[in-house]
Amino acid sequence: MQKITKRVLVAVVGMAIATLVGCGSKETESIKIALVGPTTGPVAQYGDMQMMGAKMAIQQINAAGGVNGQKLEAVVMDDVCEPKQAVAAANKVVNQGIKYVVGHLCSGSTQPASDIYEDEGILMITPASTSPAITERGFKMIFRTIGLDSQQGPVAGRYIANEMKPARLAIIHDKQQYGQGIAGEVKKTVESMGVNVVLFEGVNKDQKDFSALITKMKSKDVDFVYYGGYHPELGLILRQSREQGFTSRFMGPEGVGNKDISTIAGKASEGLLVTLPSDFSAVPANAGLVAAFKAKGEDSSGPFVMPGYAAVQIIADSIKGSGSEDPKKLAEYMRNNSFDTPIGKVAYKANGDLKEFQFVIFNWHADATKTAVTD
């Protein structure tokens, strides 16, 4: 008897809370944008970059009067860059009735989440996922403000073949959608240019000991290594390589290019080559924006900051331009118009990819700074 009373009580309280929450959101009348990415976990740094850019855009748009008189509101969600969590986050977006998503970050989590957004008619713009597979499925609601691995891989591959000219190249990847994808692109490019790939192998995410792999690379006389994946693994590989006396140069995609690679690898990160979107914070037109970030004590040079900003801005501009809040109409509007953003003039192909995007090669330094080696 007592148990039943308790249950009823819980149900009543639950309903009361639900109603309160419901009321709360009605009063504000704001346009909600879900910012989804890793805010915890090993690659949370990238999530920070994306959130930093998106929040700045929201803040500036609101300061300028919002969108058609309505304020934008950020709803941050964490997917830890795990496919399972990404689906949970996507469902949460659906359940909260949010119509626009800026995210996700890792291609591996964007892929399953985008299925849900497409089905539910939610507009998604990823400022970071570069795997071509995401936009290959003929979806209507999925866009990017970043380039593709099929653009980034060849840039890296051509540089390796033309400038580094290794005699025995090793390509290592982390078996994830992003890492393996880009490693495959690099392999295709270098092999077509006659480079000898002696090793193409995957490592496990979260693996800590790479000594066996390093010994193997040493024994195969590998003189250049391309790594497809994220910085926690590459950082350890670099560090353990130098400790084992394996001194060949390494190169990686934008997933390795953040400060933490230098924290993990220390001196071993000196001379690492990284392909990144060009440094938008160095573009003169963005000087005011960079200063605004600086005023908040934030560093806008990360690869996903400006794409995050651009994603929010494109959503806002589309709402204004199309005069509608219907995500489907927005998607239509985005395909037929172009936008002036901090990442340059943005125009979309039918599949949601950018018409143009440039990757640049940087030389990474032990103090976590970088210098461009190509333009």
Binding site: A44, N204, P232
Partner: protein, 308 residues
């Protein structure tokens, strides 16, 4: 010497280093199982806490200006073992002892809950990011040379092997030569009987958790120093591997855990070397299945029909 032999030796060194760490963690699983027949799923997290504490202590010593290497190592070792053991003791006291005597599955669920709690607790208190430290001890010896390939044996690898051997010897002596060790063997054989004969079984069980945690702390410290990166989730994979090592060697058997750990490390290393890194877990777990098919109690385990 040919370079093939040198490469083989190098891979053996790599495997033994990795295996030593697995073995240290595996002891904790096997001792607890041997005594109360329960798998302590929170043990991987105890190891993770050990790694965190060592990193914190090393950083703190650096801040107050103690940089003499032997002194730093001694203080860190002691502090890590002390604090981590306290965690091991507390976990047993809070999550397992109140449930003792009930259904066997209840403490198992409690252990999983504890594991999730500890992960989140560390993540909240220490931040969700990887914590990296610069190597305290770097460098090593190089020897042998064939076709430009040299064997590289780092000081850290030697330290890991030596420390593991020291602690394994201490543990073996403790189990076989001391009163408390004898009591723990008795409890492991028959808890009820040992209790009737006047052994304080609760105390023995607490001590088992403390010893398991102390060895996990040593493993955590070594890993913190060797790999230099810790996060709140390193316990999961390491725990899984160490548990595998314990089962491979025969769960409940201490020499079995040591053997299982080393075997697992070497298997992973050789698979990476001669097959592919992608398959190292496949081969390691395949080996486990194979051994269990032939010897269901593991390599050195004794058949025990009573325990689950």
């Amino acid at each position: 010497m040919s370079d093939v032999f040198l490469q083989f030796t190098q891979q053996l060194i790599n495997g033994l280093t990795l295996g030593s760490i697995y073995a240290l963690i595996a002891i904790g699983y096997t001792m607890v199982y041997g005594i109360i027949g329960m798998i302590n799923f929170a043990h991987g997290e105890i190891y993770m806490i050990g790694a965190y504490i060592s990193v914190i202590v090393i950083a703190a010593l650096g801040l107050i200006g103690i940089t003499t290497l032997p002194l730093v190592l001694m203080i860190t070792l002691l502090a890590t073992i002390l604090v981590t053991s306290a965690y091991g003791w507390t976990v047993e006291r809070i999550a397992y002892r109140p449930l003792r005597g009930g259904n066997r599955l209840v403490p198992l669920i409690s252990a999983i809950g504890m594991s999730i709690f500890l992960q989140n607790y560390i993540q909240l208190s220490q931040g969700a990011r990887d914590v990296a430290t610069q190597p305290l001890i770097s460098g090593g010896w190089q020897f042998g040379d064939a076709d430009g390939f040299q064997i590289y044996l780092s000081y850290m690898q030697v330290i890991i092997a030596v420390v593991t051997v020291i602690f394994m010897t201490l543990l073996t002596l403790f189990i076989h030569k001391t009163r408390m060790g004898r009591a723990s063997r008795a409890v492991s054989e028959d808890r009820k009987m040992a209790n009737l004969l006047g052994i304080n079984t609760d105390q023995v069980i607490s001590m088992t958790f403390v010893i398991g945690a102390a060895l996990a702390a040593v493993a955590g410290l070594l890993v913190g120093m060797y790999y230099g990166v810790v996060n709140a989730y390193i316990g999961f994979l390491a725990g899984l591997k160490a548990f595998t090592a314990a089962v491979l060697g025969g769960i409940g058997s201490i020499p079995g855990a040591m053997l299982g750990g080393l075997l697992l490390g070497i298997t992973e290393s050789f698979t990476s070397a001669y097959l592919s890194t992608e398959y190292k877990d496949v081969v390691a777990f395949g080996l486990l299945v194979l051994v269990l098919l032939v010897r269901p109690t593991g390599l050195l385990g004794k058949p025990d029909i009573e325990k689950v």
